[in-house]
């Protein structure tokens, strides 16, 4: 009887541990598809030659520990070099940066999220007026 009870207890403990590990968010891989980014500017719309505050609000992240975020601005001229601007984490949980645009037009903006081995990019657009 005792060996059976010991075996049953061991199996039950094992299942509890397994369920506990499986439900811990930190142990799960970050699903890129779960991440959404909403980008906003102040002023809106952005204007050439003026300092623009850019904000990226993330949802769907497992954690932001040790994360770095970078804005990658691509001018309407596809051959121009990109402007890479590092963002900082604000108290409200958004990532912010300042940038001055020199050329008007519709920019492709890639928001790069780096965390250890993880690199996730999200693409959006930004209109800069004259």
């Amino acid at each position: 009887m005792k060996p059976i009870l010991a075996c049953f207890t061991a199996c039950a403990l094992f299942l509890f541990l397994l369920a506990g590990c499986a439900s811990t968010k930190e142990n799960e891989g970050q699903d890129p598809a779960a991440i959404k980014v909403v980008m906003s500017t102040d002023p809106s719309p952005a204007a050439v030659g003026k300092n623009v505050h850019i904000t990226a609000a993330f949802t769907g992240l497992n954690s932001t520990d040790g994360a770095e975020v970078q804005f990658d601005f691509r001018e309407p001229n596809a051959r121009a070099l990109p402007a890479l601007v590092n963002a900082t984490l604000d108290k409200d949980g958004t990532y912010k940066a300042d940038h001055t645009f020199k050329v008007p037009g519709t920019y492709k903006v890639y928001v790069h999220f780096y965390q250890d081995d993880l690199h996730i990019s999200k693409k959006s657009q930004l209109v800069v007026e004259q």
Binding site: L18, N27, G29, D117, H119
Partner: protein, 455 residues
């Protein structure tokens, strides 16, 4: 008078001895350094003295310092040659069109943003280097039509952790920026950030390289007419990351054994248009093929084996998936906000179809049920019930939003890749059978020993 004559004869004899020696020194080809020198300055002097097109042989030995190749010469190792640099600057910098570097061991010790070899000119050949670096391995900046072939690049430190427990920042093995029409072939890169990285660089061929224990094996950003062919990657986070790319050809690559990293992906396509992804093998990843914000691509003849998710689509349209084998994946396919993607003629090992006309394709389409995917997305622990009888039953009852399910209009009855694909499935079945048999025998043994009725 006699003494004077003797002196004259002696001086003439000495001069006659010197003349051939001087003549030999003036017309020496190829040039060579003295093996007793230990600084790179001796090699640098030979580079400066060499004629255009000449081969400069470096004798075996260890040299401290840096080199600048600003002449169109070939610098070749004659034996075991090591160039060791501790300065925060490129160990070997090439600024001359048509220069070559062959067969050196290069140790770049400074953990900076420089490279062991920096190429800033055209038509350069870098072959058979053995590079150990704490920075970049080979860097191309505005360098076109180079041949980077047969080099071995690895991280200098065995661990990436500094004494204070901080993680050191690794750099890329081969790094291209604004470098076009180059051939990167048959190189081996180990334990770096990205094995081969290229940005804003067009027309490059990346072929036959092997990358391991790095972040991305091959990483392409904002490139055109890129060919990524016949490369292999294992134990990386992602086999190939293709981003912001048009007209790429990604074919014949093998990206496997990346399951150690929970974020692993075989092939990642982000913002990729009009490209071909054909004949690749992706196995043992979290996601085999990840496609986001990409359109008008052809993804065909790939083997997607034993991944948690075979293919994941996000915000992607008008892509064509055909003649792929999806075998042993927990979740076959996942599609979110993706329209007009054509899945046809693929093999799905979870599907049992009916081929009434004998054309090799099922006459019923395969609707990819998202039930298990949605269930485990909310509660990952339910993965324990994968392919269990109860789970299969529940899946059969799930009919919500069926019109929005991904489907294959003509799924194949057999894998495209015959023995290789079936052996992957057989191998998995064999291990499952062995585990099940062991559990059964163990249960029977316990019942016989402890479960008998006591008298």
């Amino acid at each position: 008078m006699r003494i004077c004559a003797n002196r004259i004869i002696g001086r003439l004899a000495f001069a006659m001895f010197l003349l051939p020696v001087l003549a030999a020194g003036g017309h020496a080809s190829p040039a060579s350094a003295s093996p007793s020198d230990t600084t790179a300055a001796a090699i640098q002097q030979l580079i400066q003295q060499a004629k255009d097109g000449e081969i400069v042989h470096v004798p075996a030995g260890s040299y401290q310092g840096r080199l600048l190749i600003d002449r169109p010469i070939t610098l070749a190792a004659d034996g075991d040659v090591t160039i060791r640099n501790q300065d925060e600057a490129p160990t070997v910098k090439i600024t001359a069109d048509g220069a070559s570097l062959i067969g050196l061991h290069i140790v770049h010790e400074a953990p900076d943003k420089n490279a062991a070899v920096l190429v800033a000119s055209d038509n350069v050949r870098i072959e058979s280097q053995d590079i150990r670096t704490r920075a970049y391995g080979i860097m191309l900046r505005k360098a076109n039509r180079a041949s980077i072939k047969g080099n071995r690049i690895q991280w200098l430190d065995e661990t990436a952790t500094a004494s204070k427990g901080e993680k050191k920042e690794k750099r890329n093995g081969i790094d291209l920026f604004e470098a076009h029409d180059n051939a990167i072939s048959n190189n081996t890169v180990s334990n770096l950030n990205d094995g081969i990285y290229q940005e804003s660089s067009d027309g490059n061929l990346v072929e036959g390289n092997a990358i391991d224990h790095s972040r991305y094996g091959v990483h392409c950003m904002f490139t055109k007419r890129t060919i990524v062919r016949d490369n292999s990657g294992y134990a990386n986070v992602t086999g190939a990351m293709i981003m912001g790319v048009d007209d790429a050809v990604v074919t014949g690559n093998t990206f496997t054994k990346q399951s150690e990293n929970v974020n692993s992906q075989g092939l990642l396509l982000f913002d990729v248009q009009t490209s071909k992804v054909e004949g690749n093998l992706v196995a043992g990843n979290r996601v085999g093929l990840y496609v986001e914000q990409s359109s008008a691509n052809l993804i065909a003849n790939n083997r997607v084996l034993q991944n948690f998710t075979g293919i994941q689509l996000l915000d992607s349209e008008d892509n064509q998936f055909t003649a792929n084998d999806f075998i042993g994946n927990v979740i076959e396919a996942e599609a979110t906000d993706s329209k007009n993607n054509k899945l046809e003629g693929n093999y799905w090992d979870a599907f049992r179809g009916i081929d009434s006309d004998g054309d090799g394709a099922s006459n019923t389409r395969y609707n990819i049920n998202p039930f298990f995917q949605q269930l485990t997305g909310e509660t990952p622990a339910f993965q324990l019930f994968f392919r269990s009888p109860g789970m299969i039953f529940l899946e059969s009852l799930f009919e919500s939003n069926r019109d929005n399910w991904a489907f294959d209009a003509k799924p194949l009855m057999k894998p495209n890749f015959g023995d290789n694909a079936s052996s992957a499935g057989t191998g998995r079945f064999g291990s499952l059978f062995a585990a099940g048999a062991a559990l059964l025998l163990g249960s029977i043994g316990m019942i016989m020993k402890f479960g008998g009725r006591r008298r």
